[in-house]
Point group: C2
Chain length 492, copies 2
């Protein structure tokens, strides 16, 4: 595929362009162009999504969920059964009006989310309290027609998982909502090396049709927040809309209590904006499609065979140690050009192997974020062939942890407690953003007024222990009483 | 979920009803009803698809393919760029005419297959012979509006993988087509325990837009053939339609040579109709979501704790041995009812454990297709706790192999060489079908005349070594010369 020629725009110069450049230079995706607002996820980007899917799927199954598949088309009338739901989603629907050469009697929409169609089937499947809890997940593509799109962050078609569960009591449903939020938090922490704030969405930002929406919010390098996964307490709203009832132990019929929770390809955008730098993508090893790239180096033809043989052998040995390894044997391309390409693609570790290394039974290694020495050259490390896989494993584990610590420090350095309106406005001046904990009177009216004035919104009301210590105070904007500080930021 | 009450209709009485009953009783899927021609794949059915996906995905990656994701919507004009392609697919399209509250300037169809949209992107990605071969696979849902649907076999929306590759020469593309056909054959053999005939499709049955379509055809228990995977030599047809060119080593621009190949959720239908019996689903262990179900048996409360503890412990040990195990601890349900349910769901092996087994440090085991003893009761086997995982593993391996042998024998018992038209007609009388190798003059006209008279079609022209020894002869219908016998059968 043609190699992008231009350089990556530095973050400090144009953050939005930097983000797009990373995607292009790391060959993750490209805008579909001919299909409005959609994208093509290219192999390197899709491999990251597969790594995310594999890990999340294990977590969902470990918590008792099973995968299933529901139709991608939903009768338009289904959306209308839940009043808030249709109001939230109607403007974004893609509608199928013709099929099989005929106009349809009732049009279908392509699912923007599946609460309605799944509610319809839950009503058929659930009869007794013995059928509960019903714990289902679906990996799917969904469609929300977006006017302003941005790769991974907001596209008309996107990929996600949507969990849908039904319970006998509200308490059990609330436990599920919290459990799955924690699964998302753990995934973000352990796999993405991304710290998040868990909290409750304001009424204005709640999922259309939910009683309550919980969220994990992550800070991007420009100080903005990215909603990274949401878990909804649907109450009995969809149960009533789709007549999902069960016979309880006393023989009475009740509506079920439902939840839904979702995480999407948007997380690839979050990954980019959490860790990457002006040299390209930076990937946490646990999600990196390639852990280690081996670049063979030789000048003369007589060196060639021995070096390539050693590179292949080391590659095979490391694969046996469970590492994902690429041996870059392309000809007609200088080592430096290869280094540059793999750095941009975010491979965590590079091994260089040349004739001298063969004699010394060693390789030269370089980490993706290696520090520079006094001469401005990246610090490299000689690693012996013996025990190489173990040593690399240690360095990848350390790299994973360092990325998390770095992201956490970035967030801490950009988090403020603000108590005056002037300071609040100053924190969001121009293109500035940070995580600002401030008091709010809890009304949508005030939330919208703050947004109007600063472009900052209530990202969440932090759960206990997530934000600063809980204390009462007065709303930053209206002076009305506030029970606790909430998290404000500009957002994606 | 409500348990189906009615019995499974025996195959001999009503084969089509038997097939539907298996799906219902094994809880694999159900018709969507409200979305025409679509189905819901329920957890037990979806787990089989996940097992298929996992294995195929490894095979695709081992042969150098990478996954990617392309838009599910395709501009209608794209379909029209390849004349045969649009003719083949236009009648089955679902069309999106409105989105985001507005009528679209150009309607989109939901992909019936992705050669066109992928051709569009291949044209952007391929520039030089160094970019070739380009080996892409996509796991996706597709939509073909079907009038007569049947769960798994033919539904409007279905799930599949579609491989799309581009090569510098026709020879390389032909190698790829054959390679992926063999991957399908191996998957069918090794995972599905399903023998297949590899062959070339007649012109009439060829993929719309291909030079040649290769197929694997399997015999179902009613003697009909099921096309189970296809691999297409697209020649330069889509290359020319979408201007996919590359600069060759001599600096000249050429059109690429493309292939595509697909296998779908239809394979779950094939699995059902290859192995299942009148008692329910029969699953080859390598694709079974549950290898072993453990049913604890106790009469008195004082026996209960010890039996459940042993069942859980054995379950945990077997899981450590890599087995997929379910311990059925449901209360208020007799062991016999549990046996019946798990048999219908196709679990290959059942373990029963009661108080006496605790004393003897053993379990009673029963295979899904256990023979009956002289008193008409299924043969069971006592297995000691020590080394249980290994012993179960051996029996599952043997069961996998027995299923293949049984399916192969069924096919051999129902395969005929036919040389007269009368015998041919007799072979397909009424609802009868078998695999009939007979001579054909190679024309579509004759193929259609044979279909008209007998409902049998040319399933494939077998590759060398797949059918009977190659010999010339005279067409069964017209008496015109024929180069080799071809495979006839009624089909799904």
């Amino acid at each position: 595929m043609p190699v992008a020629q231009a350089k990556i725009k530095p973050r400090a110069d144009d953050y939005a362009q930097w983000y797009q450049d990373i995607i292009q230079h790391a060959d993750l995706a490209e805008p579909a162009g001919v299909v409005k607002g959609c994208m093509v996820i290219k192999p390197h980007g899709y491999a990251i999504w597969e790594a995310m899917q594999g890990d999340l799927d294990r977590r969902f199954k470990a918590t008792g969920h099973k995968n299933a598949a529901f139709p991608m088309l939903i009768p338009m009338s289904f959306l209308e059964k839940e009043a808030e739901h249709v109001e939230g989603f109607a403007p974004e629907l893609a509608v199928v009006t013709h099929a099989g050469g005929k106009e349809l009697e009732e049009p279908y929409c392509i699912r923007p989310t599946s609460e309605t169609i799944i509610g319809h089937f839950f009503a058929k499947w659930i009869d007794s309290h013995r059928d509960l809890p019903l714990l289902i997940n679906q990996w799917a593509n969904v469609m929300r027609w977006e006017l302003r799109t941005r790769m991974f962050l907001r596209t008309s078609e996107f990929f996600w998982q949507e969990g849908h569960t039904a319970h006998a009591t509200h308490a059990e449903a609330e436990e599920e909502v919290a459990r799955m939020l924690d699964v998302y938090r753990d995934f973000a922490r352990e796999m993405m090396a991304m710290p998040v704030v868990r909290g409750v969405k304001s009424a204005h930002e709640r999922f259309a049709g939910a009683l309550e929406t919980l969220t994990i919010e992550a800070m991007m390098q420009d100080g903005k927040a990215l909603q990274s996964g949401t878990s909804h307490d649907l109450g009995q709203n969809f149960g009533k809309a789709f007549d999902v009832t069960f016979q309880n132990a006393e023989g009475e019929r009740e509506y079920v209590w439902q939840t839904s929770w979702g995480l999407s390809t948007r997380m690839i955008g979050a990954l980019i904006m959490t860790h990457s730098d002006d040299d390209g993508l930076v990937l946490p090893p646990r999600l990196a499609p390639i852990h280690v790239v081996i670049v063979p180096i030789y000048r003369k033809d007589e060196e060639r065979d021995a070096v390539l043989e050693a590179a292949d052998r080391i590659g095979a040995e490391l694969r046996e140690d469970g590492l994902r390894v690429e041996v870059d044997k392309r000809t007609g391309m200088k080592p430096g050009a290869k280094y540059y390409e793999w750095e941009r693609k975010g491979v965590p570790m590079r091994l260089e192997i040349g004739p001298r290394d063969l004699e010394q039974r060693a390789v030269m290694s370089k980490m993706r974020l290696a520090e520079l020495d006094e001469r401005g050259r990246p610090v490299k490390e000689v690693l012996p062939w013996d025990g190489l896989g173990v040593e690399i494993g240690k360095r990848l584990d350390r790299f994973q942890e360092e990325l998390y610590e770095r992201a956490l420090k970035m967030r801490e350095d950009n988090t403020l407690l603000v108590d005056t309106w002037d300071d609040f406005v100053a924190a969001f001046e121009g293109s500035k953003s940070s995580f600002v904990y401030a008091h709010w009177d809890g009304t949508t009216e005030t939330e919208l007024a703050i947004k109007e004035a600063t472009k900052a919104t209530v990202r969440c009301i932090p759960l206990e222990g997530e934000g600063p210590p809980v204390e009462t105070g007065k709303c930053i904007k209206t002076g009305e009483p506030s029970a606790q500080r909430v998290l404000f930021a500009k957002n994606y």
